[in-house]
Symmetry: C2
């Protein structure tokens, strides 16, 4: 793993950094493909949008793009993770407004591609609702940590997370898509959950495949009625789902075709 | 400020620490009074309880007590902040179970005592509900950060935070108490909010003052009907409230007597 902190090789950060003290920051997990960041513009858009919502002074775009391009060029395939925190601060929750954002950039080998189609489960850990944080990939990730700690079976790739009203929102590290006929549905992330960049790419690409893409609340019965279910994240793209364990039985969608078509499009893009 | 990381003088932490990566940890903000930690047993109880709930391997109690006592002895009055994270980990939310907790201990001067009785306001930022995290002082504090960033008027000490159902839960950094007659009410922290150690001490001390202490949901009308309102935290103890700004007007509780009696008890304890 290679690590750069504020553009310099280094591995340690100031203990006063608000990223550590309060989870006061954001991150992006990006796929390096052919020595470049895939969906880079979408990652930067989400990052800058998040900085705006949190009132974090975002890093300057041009040098950040250069930094990311340089790091991505070091591996033909891999994962690039960028953390942006509000920076070092004094005691107390209130930002002074004078903080300088901290960038922590790490380059990792590409993890193994999960066996597909995927096996999923449901997590008992719920997502709390807060519209002010919804959609962002903040450093407040304890719900994801607790949900992911619920299982260790390596055959189960992902766990679905519900909100307090029994809506299915997303996986611990991926977004959910459900196809029924020509309708492609993904859960709203306006109260909780992360608006994945791959999710965005799929929503924008669906029309080209003759699908009507819709964001709405998703319930268990929508999964059970689906022709096809797939998950997505920036690292692995769209991933078809074979089975979703639920209370001793399993939901087994019949089709994997949309996910496979999207994968082909993504590989060509 | 003095800083010890895992018992040694130092100021930098590994960027892979899950405290930074995911806010995967807890903290305690403790009052040093007469060169000792006030309510130390309550702080340790909450910390170890939180470690258990998050599955973090808690630091051993005896050496931790020695470490805290040694640090507290360096100042007659002050604030001691202890962060305990799950420790350094690899990529991905799932804890390996082999992590070794990181301790970050900092000793600060005592901040100025706030002008009392206090002025309060309401925050627009809400608290998201999640029973699995409620009551703990985790490193996922973005809601508190956003709420505290809502005002800069130094005359306003604290902002009250509501949940999505319009219940008043707590301040950004303190707990709320409302007295009506001989009833002392504090909001439940079973869905969100932090179960402060000073809150616990007050709940346990109330009977000795002839008060019936109750935890329940609190609404705006309960504030308006109160004989007395006060806030509490570990650093400043019980703090009487003079006025709570609400929509261009202010709620002004008549009495400060319970808060003053509790302060006297606390000073003697």
């Amino acid at each position: 793993m290679s690590v750069w902190i504020n553009g310099r090789v280094g591995k340690r950060i100031d203990h006063r950094d608000r990223g550590l003290q309060y989870g006061d920051g954001l991150f992006e997990t990006m796929r390096v493909h052919r020595r470049a960041v895939r969906l880079l513009d979408y990652h930067l858009h989400r990052l800058f949008d998040g900085c705006g919502r949190l009132g974090i002074a975002a890093p300057a775009e041009r040098p950040l793009r250069r930094e990311l391009a340089r790091a991505a060029s070091l591996r033909p395939e891999g994962v690039l993770k960028l953390i942006v925190t509000r920076g070092v601060g004094g005691r107390g929750y209130r930002p002074s407004g004078d903080e300088r954002a901290t960038r922590i950039l790490t380059l990792h080998p590409l993890p193994p591609t999960p066996a597909q189609p995927l096996q999923l489960r449901f997590c008992a850990t719920r997502l709390g609702a807060n519209g002010r944080l919804a959609g962002m990939k903040t450093l407040n990730r304890l719900e994801s940590v607790l949900a992911r700690a619920e299982w260790s079976d390596p055959r189960v790739f992902e766990g679905l997370m519900l909100d307090a009203e029994e809506n299915i929102v997303c996986g611990t590290m991926s977004n959910l898509f459900i196809r029924q006929g020509a309708c492609l549905v993904t859960p709203l992330v306006d109260r909780c959950g992360v608006a994945g960049v791959m999710r965005r790419w799929i929503l924008e690409t669906a029309a080209g495949l003759g699908l009507r893409a819709i964001e709405r609340r998703v319930r268990l019965r929508n999964l059970a009625d689906a022709d096809e279910v797939f998950m997505s994240n920036a690292v692995h793209g769209p991933m078809p789902v074979a089975a979703i364990k639920h209370k001793g039985t399993a939901i087994r969608p019949a089709s994997v075709e949309t996910a496979m078509m999207l994968r082909t499009r993504l590989d060509r893009s």
